[in-house]
Symmetry: C2
């Protein structure tokens, strides 16, 4: 059984410094929430987890298929429930990439494989939110 561990130390205000396998990530909240905006909000950080996870899959699959690409980015848009505690309800991933015409179907296959088979963060998101995908070619 795999296990993961992280530790987050309180700094000051509402800021915490998380040690994740030797990498430091500061989370905070805005001044409205009593913080100093010294780092991303914890909830939004989940969207970076989602983008980073599916991004690794897509890059791995494109590399395996020997598909060259450039200018790759992933935008994540998410709506929240009105009731508290507010959770993500609808999530839309927009993959932007520069790729030759004949490789576009491979890109779509990579996104589909990440969504349906490989990305654990996507699988977790899908237990509480509707997750949609779109590919925009540059």
């Amino acid at each position: 059984m795999d296990t993961h561990q992280i530790s987050a130390a309180f700094i000051h205000g509402m800021a915490f410094n998380a040690n994740i396998n030797g990498h430091s990530v500061i989370t905070d909240t805005t001044t409205d929430g009593g913080g100093n905006d010294e780092g991303p909000s914890p909830k939004r950080l989940m969207l970076a987890s989602l983008a980073g996870c599916t991004g690794i899959d897509v890059v791995s699959i494109l590399n395996k298929m020997k598909v060259p690409f450039s200018d790759f980015s992933i935008d994540v848009w998410a709506s929240l429930t009105d009731e508290h505690p507010k959770i993500y309800k609808e999530v839309k991933l927009t993959y932007r990439i520069r790729i030759v015409e004949t490789d576009k179907s491979r890109m779509e296959k990579a996104v589909k494989l990440s969504d349906e088979k490989y990305c654990g963060v996507s699988a977790m998101f899908k237990t509480f939110a509707k997750v949609e995908h779109e590919v925009v070619y540059l």
Copy 2:
């Protein structure tokens, strides 16, 4: 309806640079996964979201109750499913804090309120994992 947006740009290898409200967070994978370990793994980053979210709640509540504290940290331990895509199955939060004896019940109330009422990230985790809490007094 509230919405959140982030954007993650591919850097190289398996590394992405997420822009979260002007804050930059790099995610990557280890050399085993084809990356260069330039940032935390996306999945583990979700555990930092959880710690940062409940941390903000606990600090806010202790501040409101005028409870002084020090040396506050939150450890997160999580087990993963054996089947793919691997998702978090059991999550344990250990809150470590230095606080006077007479305020310990207030600390436990703060943890309970975060878990049951305030923390959206906890609420999302509870849709796919069993989440447990423990307070350790220093």
